[in-house]
């Protein structure tokens, strides 16, 4: 039992070509910027968008097979889907919303409602059953939408940006709840998101998609520690530099050298965490082996620190405290020196 798909679909100028495999009980996060083809993938899996090529197979049953002319319409797929803005039917009560999928699949009114109430209890909204969706908060509505998707006991659960319409605090609690339910869900789950935190918190595996292609795949921790594209690096807040390993140093493709703690060879990525970068008004003396002249090109508040965007031979991000930022008298265009300890630099194969 699992999802096995090779999706080919043309959306305007975007050619989506994604191969996806999700085991039972596994949660796959598809992470990528807007317009990368994530939603097209999800719509194909749901049967809402017929693919131009490839196939979709769930538990060995073909849902789509373009070559063989197979296309199972959405309503005949055993799936549950949660949309960004919940899409609860406004004219039905919360209970009837959750019971909807059971009714369409042939269960009686009474038994569907009983099952729906059970699901509402599981998302801790038992007492909201007789309300209309319009009377729920965003977080509650999204939990009902989850209950509605899961009530039909689907083989495949599709989550389309399920948390992105929620405010920050609500997102935190709904994310925790979602995590709990995904843990109990026996089928395959595909989560589409552009928020790396969702992907890290909820997924067993992450697929990073850009311009319709997979650019990186792996466990969330791995993707976060060792990004392979600028997009992912920016998402997880790392500076990503490409170069060639020459033992204890890496010669960067863009010029400049980085000293590393572990010997490296061949094509490598170098990743630097912004908090490990120190800024100096004058060239520092002493231990750090990586010292580069840089120019400040941008600064944005980032929690209690200021994230500085630095340009130079080695472009970097640096986090400095607000106090240090003020003390250095930093203004865009300021000429500075940046230093990083070799032991703080991650280096991995490209």
């Amino acid at each position: 039992m699992s999802l096995d798909a090779a999706v080919r679909v043309q959306r305007g100028v975007l050619h989506v070509e994604l191969d996806v495999h999700v085991e039972d009980g596994e949660v796959l996060a598809v992470l990528g910027p807007n317009g990368a083809g994530k939603s097209s993938l999800l719509r194909v899996l749901a049967g809402l968008l017929p693919p131009d090529g490839g196939r979709v197979e769930v538990d060995g049953e073909p849902w789509d097979d373009v070559a063989a002319g197979v296309h199972l319409p959405a309503h005949r797929r055993r799936l549950g889907m949660v949309f960004q803005d919940h899409l609860l039917f406004p004219h039905l009560t919360v209970t009837d919303n959750v019971a909807f999928g059971l009714r369409t699949r042939g269960a009686g009114r009474r038994e569907s409602r009983a099952a729906a109430r059970e699901w509402l209890a599981r998302v801790e909204l038992a007492e909201f059953g007789s309300r209309r969706p319009g009377e729920l908060s965003g977080g509650q509505a999204q939990r009902v939408a989850l209950a509605r998707a899961l009530a039909g006991e689907p083989a495949l659960l599709l989550l389309d940006e399920p948390l992105s319409a929620l405010d920050a605090r609500t997102r935190l609690t709904v994310r925790a709840e979602l995590r709990r339910h995904l843990g109990d869900f026996p089928g395959s789950t595909v989560l589409v998101t552009h928020d790396p935190v969702d992907a890290m918190a909820l997924a067993d595996r992450v697929l990073v998609v850009e311009e319709g292609r997979v650019v990186q795949a792996g466990p969330p921790g791995e993707v976060a520690r060792r990004p392979r594209t600028d997009y992912v690096a920016r998402l997880v807040g790392l500076s990503l530099l490409a170069g060639a390993g020459e033992g204890a140093t890496v010669r960067l493709d863009g010029g400049g050298r980085v000293a590393v703690a572990e010997p490296a060879s061949g094509s490598v990525f170098v990743a630097v965490r912004p908090e490990s970068v120190a800024l100096w008004p004058d060239p520092p003396h002493g231990s750090p082996r990586n010292v580069w002249p840089v120019r400040l090109v941008g600064a944005t508040p980032h929690g209690a620190t200021v994230r500085c965007e630095l340009d130079g031979e080695v472009p970097l991000l640096a986090d400095v405290t607000a106090a240090a930022f003020a003390e250095l008298g930093l203004a865009p265009g300021a000429e500075l020196w940046a230093s990083v300890k070799a032991s703080e630099v991650a280096v991995y194969e490209r």
Binding site: A46, A74, R76, M81, L87, F89, P90, R148
Partner: protein
């Protein structure tokens, strides 16, 4: 006009104001005249005359039947226009809206050519079932439906287009086929739009004159609806024509109020 401008309206330019006032006067004055000349004292006696009640009953009945037929046939047609991907949808929509712009008398003539005794379908109906449609109450309903249904179709199609089709996708992911989705999701979502369309359709059917008199004739009790009765009365007894007109005006105003509530109230399908 005050000397001190206090959040003053920028004002309406004179070249717009004068015609606008003229337009309002033009639209309202006849109605005012109607109300002024109404013989309010013997309104009751006039209304209880047998011909009046008969015409009113026939009008209400035929307009309601025409609306019912329009709903049964027109809502599915509106769905096809708004949701299906069949080819030639633009042509189809144009054909459907022809009765909107067609002079109703022409509609009556056209209906006669189809359903009259010598008509394409009419002859067959006459020969096979002995059914004659022209000059019957059925003909009244048919004429009214022909003229009024496009109003319903257009307004329901508009409501369908305005409704969020993603609800229908959500229903599909919950195992609902298109028919179930239509019944359980689409229809309730666009119900206000359908109601507004039905009221519009009913009002149009109620006022129908040209197609009715051409195709159904003017027989008291079977085909003489209120507008026909008004016209006829005007030739013989202007006072009763005024009374009948006031009744129709009252019905129209009630319709407008019902519509206003729908349009300004919960026009959309928002929760």
């Amino acid at each position: 006009m005050r000397g001190q401008p206090r959040r003053r309206d920028p004002g309406i330019p004179l070249p717009l104001l004068v015609p606008a006032v003229a337009a309002v006067t033009f639209l309202v004055l006849p109605l005012v005249a109607l109300l002024i000349r109404t013989p309010w004292s013997d309104l009751a006696t006039q209304l209880t005359l047998p011909g009046v009640g008969q015409a009113l009953r026939l009008s209400l009945l035929s307009a309601s039947l025409a609306t019912a037929v329009s709903l049964v046939l027109g809502v599915p047609l509106a769905w096809v226009l708004a949701r299906s991907r069949i080819r030639g949808r633009g042509v189809l929509r144009a054909l459907v809206t022809v009765p909107l712009v067609l002079p109703p008398v022409v509609g009556g003539v056209a209906l006669f050519l189809v359903l009259g005794r010598q008509g394409i379908l009419g002859r067959w109906l006459d020969e096979t079932f002995g059914l004659t449609i022209p000059f019957t109450t059925t003909a009244v309903v048919i004429a009214e439906t022909f003229v009024a249904m496009p109003f319903l179709v257009i307004s329901v199609e508009g409501a369908l287009r305005a409704a969020d089709a993603r609800y229908e996708e959500a229903a599909a992911t919950l195992g609902a086929d298109r028919w179930t989705t239509f019944r359980r999701v689409t229809l309730p979502l666009v119900a206000p739009g359908i109601a507004a369309g039905a009221v519009l359709c009913w009002a149009r059917a109620l006022g129908e004159f040209g197609a009715t008199i051409t195709f159904a004739g003017n027989f008291p009790g079977t085909t003489q609806t209120m507008p026909l009765a008004v016209y006829l009365a005007l030739q013989r007894d202007p006072e009763s024509a005024i009374v009948l007109s006031v009744v129709l005006l009252a019905v129209s105003l009630a319709t407008l109020l019902a519509l206003r509530g729908r349009w300004l109230g919960r026009a959309g399908a928002a929760p």
